[in-house]
Amino acid sequence: MGKGATHWLVQRFTAIAIIPLTFWFIYALIESVSTSYEEMLNWLQQPLILTLLIAGIVGIFWHARLGIQVIIEDYVHGKVTQKLALTLMNVVILSLVAICLVSIVIIVTG
């Protein structure tokens, strides 16, 4: 399968996969306001919650990356500028994912 077709399929697969996860995220974020720090840590330590959270982060950031890539390809013209914009976007997204995952590791182990 070509690069374009894979991009198209993954964009749709992640879209469907993150629908329930994003709704769950919104609910969890609202509830977190009235939850103490200790309770939040305990909540995050549960294997099911942890799995869903990591799956959500990977799926949502991946979906965002593919979406922003298409916007850059459509609206940033010029071979060099476009390549630079795409590289910068990939670096930023990957850094944010890394920060999220390292944070989770610290929360769970610490």
Binding site: A15, I26, M40, I71, D74, I93, I99
Partner: protein, 167 residues
Amino acid sequence: MVGQKDLSRLVMEIGSEKVDVSTSNVLSFICKFNQKPVKIMEEQPTSPHLQIYRPQLTSILSISHRLAGLFLGTSGLLAFTFWIASMALGPDAYSYSVALFTSSLMQPILFLWTIAFYYHFSNGIRHLFWDLGWGFQLTTAYKTGYLAITNAIILSSLTWAYIIFSD
């Protein structure tokens, strides 16, 4: 009329001009013209130029889908990362970020995130149906467009009603 065997050497009279319409000449003519489209296709097709494209409900919904996605994918994900990193940094950092997100200054941004998400979600469902080949008829496209807007407003209202009344 000419028989099939004559096709290789065929001359037609168009007006006063004699044109060679033999198979090989026609093929080379087509190939000459085909070179240009092939060259164009090497470049990415360009999107409609928004400055000169007459706005219609469908085009506005389409660009809004991208804008909402871009808004969520940049500011939204940055804020989420900030929130989860603050939790890893300890109770003080976490209470600071909770205070920040619950401050009155942040409420309009939180509201924009909810409406952007519910719109991107509703219109995304519309896109998934299009991918299955359903809903391309103009009247259907308009109906589902209005449905996406309505759905986004309803879900945002329900979420904010829950936020306000669950306190």
